[in-house]
Symmetry: C2
Subunit: 329 residues, 2 copies
Amino acid sequence: MTAATLSKMPRRASYVPSMDLVPLVLEGRVPAIARMISRAEAAYPEAANALAEIYKRAGRAHVVGITGVPGAGKSTLVSALIRALAAAGQKVGVIAVDPSSPFSGGAILGDRVRMSDAAAASGAYVRSMATRGNLGGLARSTLEAVDILDAAGYSPIIIETVGVGQDEVEVVSAAHTIVVLSAPGLGDDIQAIKAGILEIADIHAVSKSDRPEAAATVASLQGMMALGPGRTDTSWRPPILAVSSVSGNRVRDLLDAISAHWAHLQASGEMAVRRHGIARTRILGTARHLFSRKFDEGGSLDGHVEKVVGRSVDPATAARMLLGWEKES
Amino acid sequence: MTAATLSKMPRRASYVPSMDLVPLVLEGRVPAIARMISRAEAAYPEAANALAEIYKRAGRAHVVGITGVPGAGKSTLVSALIRALAAAGQKVGVIAVDPSSPFSGGAILGDRVRMSDAAAASGAYVRSMATRGNLGGLARSTLEAVDILDAAGYSPIIIETVGVGQDEVEVVSAAHTIVVLSAPGLGDDIQAIKAGILEIADIHAVSKSDRPEAAATVASLQGMMALGPGRTDTSWRPPILAVSSVSGNRVRDLLDAISAHWAHLQASGEMAVRRHGIARTRILGTARHLFSRKFDEGGSLDGHVEKVVGRSVDPATAARMLLGWEKES
């Protein structure tokens, strides 16, 4: 038995079967929610049936993705949104995808602490997901955590993620409403990196609106939108909102824009299009992950690697053999 | 016949079969090299056997990856390297992976023009790869282009790529020597984004060494290296070199470091480890690409999507059904 297999096994005698947690999750019991999310994150095989059941009972929440490069002010904005939503009586859930790089860990930890303060004061549920060593695949386990909060009655559910990297794009693409946060004064370099994300925004927010450079960032976003193609939904024109999370200025306007987009999805029929796209992305993302893991774990790859290193077989032919599409030589 | 299928077909009556191009590529004939790379980029099924043959005849070149965020000065550095290598009598090949975002296209085009001037003056071969609409998959076709230059006798072969995004990481991980270029004055935000790439550097270069901030960037890289884990090859300590591509100052030192790393790979036995890793990455990357394309093109996904949208099946179960690992309900 390998260390990897051992780590997937329940360790305590008092382990509550995942299926027994499901009714508690549906009642909104926080300890059961926290345990189910941990099991999704660890990809316990034992939890698979429970997660499938939870998925079937979910589907009512408005899922809002908030993305932007590190330093854009995402966590501060999310804290402000939690306070405003709680004041309006809403049961808000937050799943934060945490880049656990040793180089950025410190600063981001500080933001998390501020966010938890806001949560504790409001009854919101806030959870960070680990990005490294995530056996279930980052996108898969993050979206399962969203399902859990959804089935437990949270809405809106905010997914907060850095807008760089394929996993992060996969996660945020599973939101109904995507808010892309830009900070004033970030250079064209960062704008270029973010280009792929800017294109999928339903709402643009510019943080730190109290700074004099914020107006220039708004103008530059307007210029980019004039240049580039937007989302496939041409019936919605993404608004650009400058907000100050610190003073709370225009945070209410951002919440109104998020609600307006949700209403638009329902009224225009775009919701059906988006739900199909989300289902498609989730199935393919999970299949790709399961497929990679199978070959990473099994030894079936080793013989092919030897042949490719020895140049008796090329990588494309070896890939087709691995898939069973070509006979082994 | 779909438009996608049509676009993969040879159009001209004078089409030279790819297998007939192979001997010309091996002789180093530039028009044949250019054609083969275009066919790899377009993923012509007709070219698959020829590319497999070329792979078997390649394997002598030293492949050097040069990566860094937009604005770090990669293209200017590559131009300086081409001039220095040509002066030393080496036949250098360059494959540039071009982010074709509408937001960054302009500036990068300017760099390409400068790079081609350097190439034309030296007999080097320089080629940009399209990143959008790349039917063969970016990593796959880029590495096939490297195989083509390798089989044609070019060495070193430089892969120049933006250090962000899974495809780009896959490409640069296929190099024997990875140079990560940082620019002085870029903020911590960008450093955090780059963190994943910084960790895989064999050599750190700091551009624009004539600027006063360059020393601070060198110090910050030294600090990061002290913090984070390096590559698995613990017998090599990545040097940090400040270079000025404009004045040519210390470009020679960078070339010496690149040669020293190549000598280290041979002497330490690390080369075998790296060749295994590269083969493994190329096989899995190609398999993942072929697998995704199959389901993207075929209609086999649609029934699963309907069930997931209707919440009668969860995405993980649908993924296992798609892979044939679970019986359809």
